[in-house]
């Protein structure tokens, strides 16, 4: 019970102090819209194209919504030593990690609906399989947030956090089949795609929104789960080793 209070205190504070602040909202929203717009225009426009661009846009919204703030805030709080308060609080480190990522996950999920809202006015979305799309959105948000946290525990400066996460984020736009199929990539890059969790999340979204998945959704979900678990464990280990001196 007390731990739950602590959990929600951290979550609530982060939401108020970081996530629902203008700089984060603009980064989280503007960026995916601009990118998706580019691909949309390049593909020639048209209502049927909206539906094919939408999965990539949703995936991008989640990725940037979760990671743009998390890595920066954690490194920032670490540098200002405020993070020590969290390490001193009587809650297990695993729970602390969840509280810290909770805000990012929530924001990523909310962010995912913005492309849907836009799409609603421009195309017919009645074919979307929500029962698949919703869990995919949540899973992708969780995995992206864990990725953001992993980045933030691996670096010590704010600029490193930004550089390091962009080092992964930008290639992912091309490598993960967001806006064009992985099969269109040069053959030597294709194995790389399957090492990135976003590939599996985007694949489910393609299946759920446009009916164009390339792998069985069960396999995609399993892959996402495993990536999430791996990142969680790596991060926990890193916190134990680097933060508790």
């Amino acid at each position: 019970m007390k731990r739950l209070t602590a959990f929600f205190s951290i979550l609530g504070k982060d939401m108020r102090a970081y996530y629902f602040k203008p700089p984060n909202i603009s980064w989280g929203l503007l960026f995916p819209v601009v990118w998706a717009g580019m691909f949309f225009i390049k593909s020639g426009g048209g209502a049927e194209n909206i539906v094919s661009v939408l999965p990539g846009m949703v995936a991008l919204s989640i990725l940037f919504g979760t990671t743009s703030m998390l890595a920066v805030t954690v490194t920032f709080e670490r540098k200002a030593k405020a993070f020590e308060r969290l390490l001193l609080a009587p809650i297990p480190l695993g729970m602390l990690m969840l509280a810290k990522t909770g805000g990012a996950i929530l924001f990523g999920v909310l962010n995912a609906f913005i492309p849907f809202l836009v799409g609603l006015f421009l195309a017919d979305l009645s074919g979307v399989a929500w029962s698949v799309a919703l869990p995919a959105i949540v899973m992708l948000a969780v995995v992206s947030a864990f990725f953001g946290l992993f980045v933030s525990v691996s670096v010590s400066e704010v600029f490193e956090a930004q550089t390091f996460s962009n080092f992964f984020r930008f290639p992912m736009i091309f490598l993960c089949g967001l806006f064009f199929p992985i099969s269109d990539l040069p053959a030597y890059l294709q194995p790389l795609s399957y090492l990135l969790p976003l590939t599996y999340g985007a694949d489910i979204l393609h299946a759920a929104i446009a009916g164009k998945g390339t792998m069985p959704p069960g396999l995609d979900f399993l892959a996402l789960f495993l990536f999430g678990l791996l990142l969680y464990l790596l991060t926990l280990r890193s916190i134990h080793r680097r933060w508790i001196l």
Partner: protein, 331 residues
């Protein structure tokens, strides 16, 4: 007044053979000490002595390399977080959230320890008044002055009413009045039964406040005892400082001949220092000096301070400690 499941109901912090290195640097080198329940314990030492590292190990921010430690009867040797619900920590840096105001900062800290919303709001308002920050409660922490930041950081450390409180140099770098306020606050907490572990550069502060102190130098405890006992050996001895117009005219040889039981030294500022196991015969001394043609301006019995003891035990000059008061690092 007992609590926890400690081996000795009387001891609150038990440290044995505790050690910690960072690479080649041995920060803490096998220290052992016990802090009793309800005691105000002072940890005194120069920069880099290992004070913060010790606090970090006691509070779960650092893992010991060797040795064992118990806090509130709970063994924290393997699990650094085991006793964290019992403790409050005031770190050496004022590290609250700059973007939150004072009130929200305190509420947030209460939340971390599981305090319910209504309870922590009440407590936050109460503490803001207690620390003279009621006006500042609505302002962002980033806008606070250094002393205000320090006060709020201390308030944040006790928001959940911890039975054990750790403070890392609570009064460093703040003005005299704020420091006095903080000391009286700590005194009150101590009287209400809180066990307090405090590190400081201010020897007088430790002397005035602490029940017991440990001197730590180079990661080792060179002396640990009650303040009363540390001062005791010098209580059986008297020190008199005789101020004179000009010391160069003092015939120390002649003086030593006339008063063979006294240890005589000339100190800076034209002061003759007289130490003796027997009560010093000040009248005779002054007459002797005047007969020599030395003009005595003042003769004063000096009470031995903890600072004197510290200097005697550690060999570290009081000046060195004082220079470091501003929290300046390095040599």
């Amino acid at each position: 007044m007992m609590g926890g499941s400690g081996s000795t109901s009387d001891s609150c912090i038990e440290v044995s053979g505790l050690g910690k290195s960072f690479g080649d640097v041995t920060a803490v080198d096998g220290i052992s000490f016990t802090v009793r329940r309800g005691e105000l314990f002072g940890f005194l030492g120069p920069n880099g002595a290992g004070k913060t590292t010790t606090i970090n190990m006691l509070t779960g921010l650092a893992r010991p390399d060797r040795g064992s430690l118990r806090v509130g009867g709970i063994d924290c040797t393997r699990n650094p977080k085991a006793a964290q619900h019992l403790i409050g920590v005031v770190p050496d840096e004022s590290n609250l959230y700059p973007e939150l105001n004072g009130f929200d900062n305190l509420c947030f800290c209460g939340g971390l320890y599981g305090m319910r919303s209504a309870e922590r709001k009440k407590r936050a308002s109460e503490l803001l008044v207690l620390f003279g920050l009621e006006e500042a409660g609505k302002r962002r922490f980033a806008e606070y002055s250094r002393g205000m930041k320090r006060r709020l950081t201390i308030a944040a450390g006790i928001v959940h009413r911890p039975p054990v409180l750790f403070l890392d140099e609570p009064t460093s770098g703040i003005d005299v009045q704020s420091a006095r306020r903080i000391r009286s606050m700590l005194g009150e907490l101590h009287r209400s039964g809180t066990t307090v572990f405090l590190t400081t550069h201010y020897i007088e502060e430790a002397e005035r406040m602490c029940d017991r102190v440990a001197f730590i130098v180079g990661g080792r405890i060179v002396r640990e005892d009650s303040v009363a006992r540390l001062l005791h050996p010098v209580m059986g001895r008297e020190v008199v400082a005789v101020s004179v117009a000009a010391t160069e005219r003092i015939d120390l040889g002649g003086l030593a001949g006339a008063f063979p039981d006294y240890a005589l030294t000339v100190e800076a500022g034209d002061v003759l220092r007289v130490e003796s196991k027997e009560p010093v015969r000040v009248g005779a001394l002054v007459r002797f000096l005047e007969e020599q043609g030395v003009q005595v301006t003042e003769a004063r019995r000096k009470r031995q301070s903890l600072e004197d003891v510290f200097v005697a035990v550690t060999g570290i000059g009081a000046e060195t400690m004082r220079k470091e008061k501003g929290g300046r690092k390095g040599a």
